[in-house]
């Protein structure tokens, strides 16, 4: 079954902010990190990555910096303070929602 695009968009936003809270990364590194850390369970289309990154940057949650590494120019993304605050907020929301869904799946019944 295909997940709804808005749900996947929210998940990819959460994942990107979470990964970038550890260290700055460029697009290709981020795509690999998402595949590795989610044990291939979530595969964000690599072409979808850049619209998401630029959208997060435009909203002030990421900042981009151009660096030359081994003769190649990369655009590294890092979390801003506003991004960190937003990450905390959406992490709490995600835990609340996933906790609720887990409870329902584990067979919580109406009293």
């Amino acid at each position: 079954m295909q997940a709804s695009s808005s749900l996947m968009s929210g998940i990819s936003e959460l994942l990107l902010l979470r990964l970038l809270s550890e260290r700055q990364m460029y697009g290709y590194e981020l795509a690999r990190a998402i595949r590795t850390t989610t044990r291939q369970a979530i595969s964000v289309g690599e072409g979808v990555l850049y619209p998401a990154l630029h959208s997060l940057e435009r909203r002030g949650w990421l900042k981009a910096r151009r660096c030359t590494v081994n003769g190649r120019t990369r655009v590294y993304y890092a979390l801003t303070r506003a991004g960190l605050r937003h990450l905390k907020k959406i992490t709490q929301e995600w835990r609340r929602i996933s906790g609720g869904v887990d409870a329902a799946l584990l067979g919580a019944r109406y009293a």
């Binding site: 697009g27 979808v48 850049y50 619209p51 630029h54 909203r59 981009a64 655009v75």
Partner: protein, 232 residues
């Protein structure tokens, strides 16, 4: 008749994504594609297989365009408010630079006076202001400001309507301004203002039309060339 889709950069800019951001997105996308090709080559793929795998994984430029255009937040404010950006902002910016230029000239004169220069009609500062400031304030400044905003609109492939309104507005407001330097030997003075008088109506209109033509015609030519380059 258009026989092929416009290049991705043009599509992004026409959709309202700022030119700098559009170029950066396409560059990052191409670099990502190259990284995936290199990764596949390291795994033993042939060059053809590696390119094919990269295209499947990263997607096409058309898919990237569709994903970008689905995000309205990536569109610049100038695209969302073209009237404000290309018609009202140029007039405000012209007024600001006009006043700032006058203040700079006053500051220069005061600074020379504070350093003990006796400012007479023969003074180099007064001679310089008398020779160039009028041409700068009454011609170069309105033309420069109107051209600057028109150029920004052309770079962003915006519709020509609002930039044309902006050019006409700045040039007409510029034509209403006046500046004069009196170089009487004992007490040189300068004055500036804005207004319209029936005694100088012809000259004002001539100046407005002259400055408008100086900016508007090259702008329309640039837009025409842009349109032609997209069609062929």
């Amino acid at each position: 008749m258009r026989n092929r889709p416009p290049p991705p950069l043009d599509s992004l800019i026409q959709a309202g994504i700022a030119p700098r951001r559009a170029r950066r997105i396409l560059r990052e996308f191409a670099e990502h594609h190259a990284d995936v090709v290199a990764e596949r080559l390291n795994l033993g793929d042939s060059a053809h297989e590696a390119r094919l795998a990269a295209s499947v994984r990263v997607g096409s430029e058309q898919q990237l365009l569709a994903n970008l255009l689905a995000r309205p937040e990536l569109r610049s404010w100038a695209h969302r408010q073209p009237g404000l950006a290309f018609a009202i902002a140029p007039v405000l910016f012209f007024a600001l630079t006009f006043v700032a230029s006058l203040l700079a000239m006053i500051a220069l004169v005061e600074w020379r006076k504070a350093n003990g220069d006796a400012l007479s009609a023969a003074s180099p500062v007064i001679q310089w202001i008398s020779a160039y400031a009028g041409a700068y304030l009454l011609w170069a400044l309105p033309c420069g400001v109107a051209a600057l905003f028109a150029l920004a609109a052309a770079r962003r492939r915006e519709s020509s309507i609002w930039p044309c309104v902006g050019i006409v507005a700045v040039c007409f407001v510029g034509a209403l301004t006046n500046f004069s330097v009196s170089v009487s030997p004992d007490a040189p003075s300068m004055g500036a203002g804005i207004g319209i008088g029936t005694d100088h109506l012809g000259a004002t209109l001539m100046r407005a039309c002259g400055t408008t033509a100086l900016v508007l015609l090259p702008f329309l030519r640039v837009r025409w060339l842009q349109r032609m380059s997209l069609l062929h």
